[in-house]
Amino acid sequence: MAFLLRRLGFYALSAFVAVTVNFFLPRLMPGDPAVALFSRFQGRLAPEAMVALRESFGLSGGSLVSQYGRYLAHLAQGDLGVSVAYFPAPVGSLLAHALPWTVLLAGSSLAVSFTLGTALGVLVAWRRDSVLDRFLPGFLTFIGAFPYFFVALAAVYLFGYQLRVLPVGNAYGADVAPSWSFAFARDVAAHGLLPLATLVVTSCGGWVLTMRSSLVGVLGSEHVRMALARGIPRWRVMLFYAARTAILPSVTSLGMAIGFVVGGSLLTEVVFSYPGQGYLLVQAVRAQDYALMQGIFLLITLSVLAGNFLVDALTVWLDPRTREADS
């Protein structure tokens, strides 16, 4: 328990850093959101509106400390300001609509990629010297060298243009309404399949290599040889004695991987016009919509922190040493 509490404290600190960075960025950096919005409505805003704009962004009025206080108060109410790109929609509601899609895409691709990659890693470690083991690691390293979104571009070209077998763009078709029905779920799955597959293809190589090298190390250890000597079937030893121990490095890097997968998923969303955070992020960059950008940064950071905490809980469950350290 002490381990988890300590981690919780660390994530609270990280969240505080993110929130504070978010506050200081517009105040310390050369760019100015009010100027950006002002120039967007060229000539249609009176110069006096500039003052009001700066005030509405919370960029003026009172000392830095009181601005920070107001910023925190607004944040606590989920008030992240007003979007410029989707004026006058509040940033909070835009984010709320986009969040489920990103969580769905990033979460499912991480789960599939981890499971598939780790299973493949066990397989190649089990069949060392096979053709599979000779070529798979090199091949996966090569595939992993491609940028996430490049594979997505290739998939759009191949399946969306050449073969026309799967829908590309958006999260569900224009002819179905969101509901808890089978038809809608099937449509969402069809639209999500390609983005998911491209993410899995580019990211699963790392899991294969991590699991393979860890498992090869564990296979030489005493407890595995002992189990084999006792006459326990090889596959049982492999799965319940060796893989059980060897999976720990993979689980530890799962936390680090969350940030990367989210980054990759943002870019993949852009390619597929998938209506998640990444798609919003591009609209925000194009329109110089600072409030929206910062809201996305904050929300993604908090989600990644939450994901990391889940991984920590998983580590405690898998690795007795983290529990022993407490007592």
């Binding site: 990280s14 050369p30 070209y157 243009y161 950008m293 950071t301």
Partner: protein, 310 residues
């Protein structure tokens, strides 16, 4: 006699190149692209100018076809190599330099200095890099300098963690204690005693960080961060996606830059892992042992011959 290319035949890199086919392949690819980056822009001149109708397929006149704005894809590819690789290498060098200094300092000093620096490193590591880079970049003037700055900001903590671990392992050695006793300052011990012992780690981290930097740079440019009017591999992909080249079947606008990025990254990874194995015998895989032992391996067991009695 020493020549500038001595490093290719001597030391761990030379050993890796002699022993490992992957290292030779990696070095050849990297050298090819380095040459492209050096002479490319002078060979092709202005790659931004429209030369033919938009989205023409590859032909004898334009080997890789034309972009959505009628520019020559091959010219853009060759010219774009310089900016792409220069940004990648600058970020790689910067994150290793900062990461090594901060990490080694933290690991060497220990105590509360290490605690504070480690907390900083860990917090930055857990913040998602891409959204942070985008948000910071949005406030800066667009261009390569901004891309280098934001990627350095988000990339150095990885290196700091690796170098800190290395310094922790070294700090209790006798020669470090001897340097302390002889009155060397902390700064001198970090820079003149500890860092020089880590050259092989510095090289592998530099290669790894450059791979990270190229991928992240291309990702940022694809989002439209950075200057989309400059010719780089990332902006080539940005325009390929935004000129609806995909849905008109113009594969030649996005396959060449993507392939180049992947080739450079793959070649660097091969080079790095071969170098790593040459400098760090503990990492040598059993494959190498089997290669080394192959000639002396015992012959396959055969059944004991049964001599029939007459």
């Amino acid at each position: 006699m020493s020549s500038p290319l001595d490093f290719l035949t001597r030391g761990p890199l030379g050993e890796a190149l002699r022993r490992d086919r992957r290292a030779r392949f990696g070095l050849a690819i990297v050298a090819l692209f380095a040459l492209m980056a050096l002479v490319g822009p002078t060979l092709f001149g202005d790659a931004d100018a429209p030369v033919a109708r938009p989205l023409e397929p590859p032909s004898a006149a334009h080997w890789l076809g034309t972009t959505g704005q009628g520019q020559d894809v091959l010219a853009q590819l060759v010219v774009g190599a310089r900016s792409t690789l220069a940004v990648g290498l600058s970020v790689g060098a910067a994150v290793v330099a900062i990461g090594a200094l901060v990490g080694v300092t933290a690991g060497y000093l220990g105590g509360s200095a290490d605690f504070l620096l480690s907390q900083l490193i860990n917090v930055l590591l857990v913040l998602p890099g891409l959204p942070l880079a985008v948000v910071v970049a949005a406030y800066l003037p667009s261009g390569p300098a901004t891309v280098v700055a934001v990627l350095t900001l988000t990339g150095w903590p990885w290196n700091a963690r690796v170098f800190r671990a290395q310094a922790l392992a070294l700090r209790s050695r006798d020669w470090v204690a001897a340097a302390v006793v002889s009155g060397e300052s902390h700064g001198a011990i970090v820079v003149r005693y500890l860092l020089p012992t880590m050259t092989s780690l510095l090289v592998t981290q530099l290669i790894g960080s450059t791979v990270y930097a190229i991928g992240a740079e291309v990702g940022l440019e694809f989002l439209g961060i950075g200057d989309v009017s400059r010719v780089t591999w990332g902006t080539a992909l940005y325009w390929a996606a935004n000129d609806s080249a995909l849905l008109t079947g113009a594969w030649w606008t996005f396959v060449p830059p993507g392939l180049c990025i992947a080739l450079v990254a793959f070649a660097l990874v091969l080079l790095s892992s071969a170098f790593d194995e040459a400098t760090n015998p503990g990492l040598r895989t059993e494959r190498h042992w089997r290669l080394a032992l192959g000639a002396h391996a015992p012959p396959p067991a055969s059944p004991t011959p049964v001599v029939p009695h007459g």
